[in-house]
Symmetry: C2
Subunit: 193 residues, 2 copies
């Protein structure tokens, strides 16, 4: 997705070797017009699928999921990362390790909001080691729902999450794949659209 | 906002006396069409204001802020609740007590994304004790930005946040105000639109 590549080249910052900061438009400040273009692109890529629900994970996934859901005309469900007395007792749970935060956490989805009739598209901002996505996949499987695929805004192709999921039979569709951040230089993989 | 009242009466559940669960459409599963109506209503109410940024707080505020931002054509910034090595070192911070989670937490906004030129609309799903809103207001003041007002989807009128903020000179515009949840019955305040 050329527009996204240009935005990343213009505003992305490479830090500590392997961190790509895109918080001016994707995960702290949110560029809503760009998110709309991202939403249209996901719709185009998954147009032939009969998706009835979008699943994501708090927090920055929510922005992408909500804007994109407008093009699919489906509800969004976001997995919760934090304990809350407001969450239902009956939940699907999975354990996720966060490399960014260097700790394990539980993700939860209420059993009310996902079930075996669902055809689910997962959306998220980043795919790196794939732990969050595997957690969401685990929850979808627990609910006996169908995972149609995963739409990712930025995949770090030099980390193992993408291969892990694709080898596991998941359709992963990333709008851009970054093959290297070495020496602070952002290198995109060539992709066919 | 009549549509929202009807949705709350149809799908809201009162638990533990003072908790109103609206997680089928507002803060776990998200009804995107309803969020669009909410967004239009906020635009109508703040149409005469020269807003150039929407500020909210993760997680469920993000959904409302993103959908609403489309009607204002402005970016969203969401305050982060969690530590992350991805967040800038230079941040505005404020301490917030959460009654839901029964603990204090810090909220943070990078200094890059809010400054004295900003006319900011705060948006959030709930207003109860007002602690999160006061934290966001504190951050806006630290940045010497201008707080135009706060748009709230559901205000719990029987808790003190709304009065606290209004007495402090903040324009608080709540789409519905609930005066009582006693005996599991949802009582709305009469509002002029």
């Amino acid at each position: 997705m050329e527009l996204l590549k240009q935005k990343i080249l213009r505003e992305g910052r490479v830090e500590n070797g392997d961190i790509l900061k895109v918080d001016s438009f994707l995960n702290h400040q949110l560029d809503i017009e760009l998110l709309n273009e991202i939403g249209k692109e996901f719709k185009k890529r998954f147009a032939e699928e009969n998706i009835n629900k979008i699943l994501t994970i708090e927090a920055s996934g929510i922005a992408i999921a909500c804007i994109t859901a407008q093009y699919f005309h489906v509800p969004v469900v976001f997995a919760k990362k934090t304990e809350s007395r407001n969450l239902d007792k009956e939940t699907y749970e999975s354990n996720v390790y966060s490399y960014t935060k260097e700790k394990n956490y539980k993700i939860r989805v209420s059993k009310r909001y996902i079930d075996k009739r669902d055809n689910i598209l997962i959306l998220d901002d980043f795919l790196a080691n794939g732990k969050a996505l595997l957690g969401l996949k685990d929850i979808i499987e627990q609910a006996n729902a169908n995972l149609v695929g995963a739409g990712i805004v930025i995949e770090k192709g030099f980390q193992k999450g993408g291969d892990l999921l694709r080898n596991d039979g998941v359709r992963v569709d990333s709008l851009v794949i970054i093959d290297s951040l070495e020496n602070g230089r952002i290198e995109f993989r060539e992709q066919r659209n």
